[in-house]
Subunit: 489 residues, 3 copies
């Protein structure tokens, strides 16, 4: 007798976008079968032994607010000591009088100063400091930002006429020269830093640098290479190359400029970057991004570099933070963000971090990307974009990241600056360094958001038979369960 | 000149459900091109060396019936010595007079007794013993079951009034107390054990315990938490959580109660559990199950715990065994079962076992799940549900499982009782223990079914140039090639 | 306010076959946003350290023509010394008079001779020598082939009547006997070797052996087992088994016979083999091939043996080389070839080679398949079938392959002759051997094509911040970007 086969399209629907609607129905349904009282856990019995593995014991616990604050403060202190905070003249003497031009004015360097100032990594540090200030209430984090914004403002007062000391070849090398304040020379140089300056301004931190940010926004809007469809691209390594990294280099700046100016064109450009880069780089079957795409090859390069994914998910967080509630693109961005979170969640390693190549367990565990993911998970929970269920991974992910902050406050295990390469070996063998500033901002962001998670009164964190669970407190709305079609809020 | 591109939908169809129909056509076609006589293998020649690797030599051979029987008997003997088989009074003395109430009556414990009695793991042991009896013809396996069923029946005669010593908190801890016979307190406690009792009854083994099984079936039908659509759920870790494990905790009991009672509602509920849990947990692209699904998250947790997959595939085997030939749901269940077998077959490890996280080769090799898969493959071949071609993996999988049965008859390398956790590290670092009873029933089942495979006269096992092949004997019908739509039998 | 969700079908389209059309539009569009001058790379700055890992340093560089030529010559010299090049009589004395029959005539063996002659592996060696001659301009490579073709031609002059010393059981074992010249006994014996003979004839190398190749083509066309739909199959391990290997054993011979004869039936059969085998074995979601498919199982065996994939991609290269420009099947074959290249490119290992099981990083790195992939990438770039962007992987892949050619000219790390097995352990533990001739032809091919890549004036190889890029020289047509529908050329 003929029988129906199982209709796999049902699974595909449920695994795809239709599920939220199904679930919303379940979630609000008052009609359930009679339920027995919640039993105590009977799984495992006598043999339900806890693991004694030291790696596991180090990461699998709920961190305390004090632990997190201590880690954040150690990182802040190291950055404070190691990042330029003063202007010097051509002879290397600190400038204290900003009322007149000073020959050879530039930022301090050498000695204990190991990091540059005008770079995308430092832009993330600014954003992380602002978030840490918000999470801890400690003014020192904002002070860090304000001090460096003053350096920039003062530089504009004392430096020679526009045009001097500009460009990558400026004195002091990459980012050390501040000529980029007047004459931006690459998206790397100004994009993420612009977001940092705009967020500082929105938070009322530091001097007004709108002349700088206006110039940078003009650069982003009209000077940065773009494909014919408006997608931001690079001429590196070849003409019209799309880098996942550039989602972060452009989108947060565009989004916060939209907020600050009220001009919808910035939001629209930010949305365009996310969707058009995703169309080229996102693998919906895996839920992760390829690092890049070259005009001369129809296929994305299927190498899933962790930090590239970090840039994307952080960019989407910033856009969702900035985009007004009723914006018709929210649903689009939320759908992509959620699909990405799900893909990333499927790839956490045994030790709580993520691999340098996300889907290659034989690649090393990388700190900066892991911190970005911890931030993105915790932030999305705090905002109500994703289920608090992802909180387990955020909490133990944070513990794993924190274990890489050493006594000095240095962040270990971060992949150094990385080209868009077209082969796996390049990524497998990228060195790591405590001097890679890329790890510091994300660590601040991850700690700040996990701290907010601990303080979030809409969720509760429970321990049951050795497992950590994060769930909504009862009778909360669960917006992440709504069909994306209705998720405009 | 324009050319057609390759239509990938053809591949997708062929890789999907349409293939069996295509193949059935091929298989019955009398028209083939002229064929040369079957040549001897010319692959590799002088360099076609056999592997000298000791792991390979241990697992890659056709096991003998004697080897299997010896392993089964060693496991049986260890279980016989280590599992409660007597009732004792409050003073610890064995009860021999069951004609009147005895204060503090309970099962023996301590000393050589290391396992509990009234648990799901022991339910699987019962099912395994019954299958081993069937495969070997040795009454000792049925005796094991009968002895413990008598303990239960006698407990009901001598124990105090209903309500005493019930619940998880009953004396002797989890499963040691027999109060659950009268007052079930969780699906874990009664579901799989109910299947064991029902199968024993169908096999005519042990006393009539229908009062117990009727109570348990009522509990499963009306007291166990369910979602609004009737899917069985738990309040652990959060309200309305779907565990893959519960497919086994519910479906075999429902299926065999259907068989015993003839009441279709049990079959229908069993089918509903398989399909509705699969809709939430099965990943059709991977062919494997997620461990669980939480109402507060639209996505399944994409962590593919091996034993959760074992519970699912074993539950489907039991349902297909019980479900009448003409039942319209057979095609649905067969399709799911076959897709799952294919997914599992793609993930056998280098050493013949499967990994704790199925798709993570850096997770440890786990015995209980591996034994479940070996059982499911061999059973499906013996039943004609899947191609005998899967027999190679079943045979060497058995050798790998058998290598984990030590001299004492203990099963090594089994993951202890395991929560539904929301992070990978939890699963990576679950300890293993010979005291985890979860490995014993599946090992009995795996050995029994592989023994039946060796005796199966519808298939032949051949060795060719160092490879093992299992194929249908000529002129057999091959029901697994039929389109699922017609696979009602 | 309701918002649109992101339409994932857009991504799927872009990741699928629609992308090339989209890109072609982009590529030819004259309208781009204003672009800043190409900036120097600013990624990473002070921390952008080069890797010091010795494996990386060994493989990640652009090889020189001299390096490649030296490696090729070392392999050629070893093969010249180790492969039969003389006929001997029954007493082992070299035959020099070919004007009359000689009792017991056969090829030399023993001593320094370690390889057989009439085998598919040697067929690939012939093809590789011809390609190396073309790439280097060095006559010694063609001489190697001509010498062995003369051995065959002379054997036909001096050997006894047809029928003697034929078959696998002929004197000297597999391939040592030359009876297969007159009476082919398996596709393995004659298929790839036939391609070698046909390509030699097209290149004007060696004597006319069309009597032999005509016999072999008749065998392939009418005697080799086929399924009802005409797909070439084997009776090993079971009746009507499709081996991916047989794509190479049949398609190049069919394709070059099509070229030589002008008879379209050969092309059509070659196209049929590629498409029908792909329909059974290719996984479009992964972009790679399963090793085999058995009529008694509707599913392919999802074990992705590297060398099986090598046979497929090399067969497609040969077919695309031979198939006339306007043939309506070119688009189909190009689409499959490109999807396969993309799948393979996603799976290169950390060390530049590919794994024995392509998607299992815990399986060993295998030389023969890696060489085949390097060949297929470089050849496709040289022909304009795929983006030059794949050149990075080809170049460092070659370095990795070359590192496995030892001082003697032996190719190390090649998996020995391999059955189609139905379990992963079989493949994991296949031994490797320098006596596995399978590695030699592919190494010649890989080196020859990478040498052509270095000399290819349509592409340029650049180094930028430590990364290797291969790109088209400006204003080149980019046929690989065209929609496959229009890719008839």
């Amino acid at each position: 007798m003929p029988n129906p086969v199982f209709d796999f399209s049902v699974l595909k629907k449920i695994h795809g976008l239709v599920l939220p609607a199904v679930l919303a129905a379940l979630a609000v349904s008052p009609a359930r079968a009679q339920m027995a009282p919640a039993p105590s856990v009977q799984q495992g019995g006598a043999a339900n032994l806890p693991p004694t593995n030291p790696v596991y014991q180090k990461i699998y616990h709920v961190p305390t607010a004090d632990e997190i604050t201590a880690t954040l403060d150690r990182v802040r202190a190291y950055l404070e000591a190691s990042t330029p905070g003063r202007l010097v003249d051509g002879g290397g003497q600190e400038i204290t009088d900003f009322s007149q031009p000073v020959a050879g004015a530039t930022v301090e360097r050498g000695g204990v100063i190991v990091f540059p100032l005008l770079t995308y990594e430092e832009g993330v540090v600014f954003v992380g400091m602002l978030d840490a200030a918000d999470a801890t209430g400690d003014a020192k984090y904002n002070d860090y930002v304000a001090k460096r914004l003053n350096v920039m403002a003062n530089f504009l007062k004392v430096s020679p006429a526009p045009g001097a000391a500009t460009g990558a070849a400026g004195r002091g090398g990459r980012g050390a020269a501040l000529g980029g304040l007047r004459t931006p020379y690459s998206l790397d140089q100004c994009g993420a830093m612009c977001a940092g300056l705009l967020k500082a301004r929105l938070a009322g931190v530091g001097p007004d640098l709108s002349a700088v940010t206006n110039g940078w926004m003009d650069f982003i809007g009209t000077k940065v290479p773009r494909l014919a469809d408006g997608t931001i691209a690079r001429h590196i390594p070849m003409p019209d190359t799309v880098w996942a990294d550039d989602m972060y280099m452009s989108v947060p700046a565009l989004a916060w400029m939209g907020k600050l100016s009220g001009d919808k064109k910035y939001y629209d450009d930010a949305v365009k970057q996310v969707t058009q880069m995703s169309a080229r780089l996102f693998r919906p079957d895996l839920g992760i991004y390829a690092h890049g795409w070259i005009t001369t090859n129809p296929d994305p390069v299927d190498i899933h570099w962790a930090r590239a994914n970090g840039w994307c998910v952080m960019a989407m967080c910033e856009l969702l933070d900035a985009l007004p509630d009723g914006d018709p693109a929210r649903g689009t961005i939320l759908t992509l963000y959620r699909a990405h979170v799900r893909g990333l969640a499927a790839l956490q390693s045994s030790d709580g971090l993520w691999h340098q190549l996300l889907d290659r367990t034989d690649s090393y565990l990388e700190t900066s990307a892991s911190a970005m993911f911890v931030y993105a998970f915790a932030h999305g929970i705090n905002r109500g974009w994703i289920s608090p269920a992802y909180g387990t991974q955020a909490l133990i992910g944070w513990n794993a990241v924190a274990s890489r902050v050493n006594e000095k406050g240095q962040v270990e295990g971060t992949c150094v600056g990385t080209n868009f390469d077209l082969s796996e070996p390049y990524y497998y063998y990228r060195p790591t360094s405590v001097d890679a500033l890329h790890g510091y901002g994300p660590t601040l962001l991850a700690g700040a958001e996990v701290l907010k998670l601990l303080k979030n009164d809409k969720i509760k964190i429970t321990l049951s038979v050795g497992s950590i669970y994060v769930s909504p407190v009862p009778n909360q709305p669960m917006p992440w369960l709504e069909d994306g079609r209705a998720a405009g809020k």
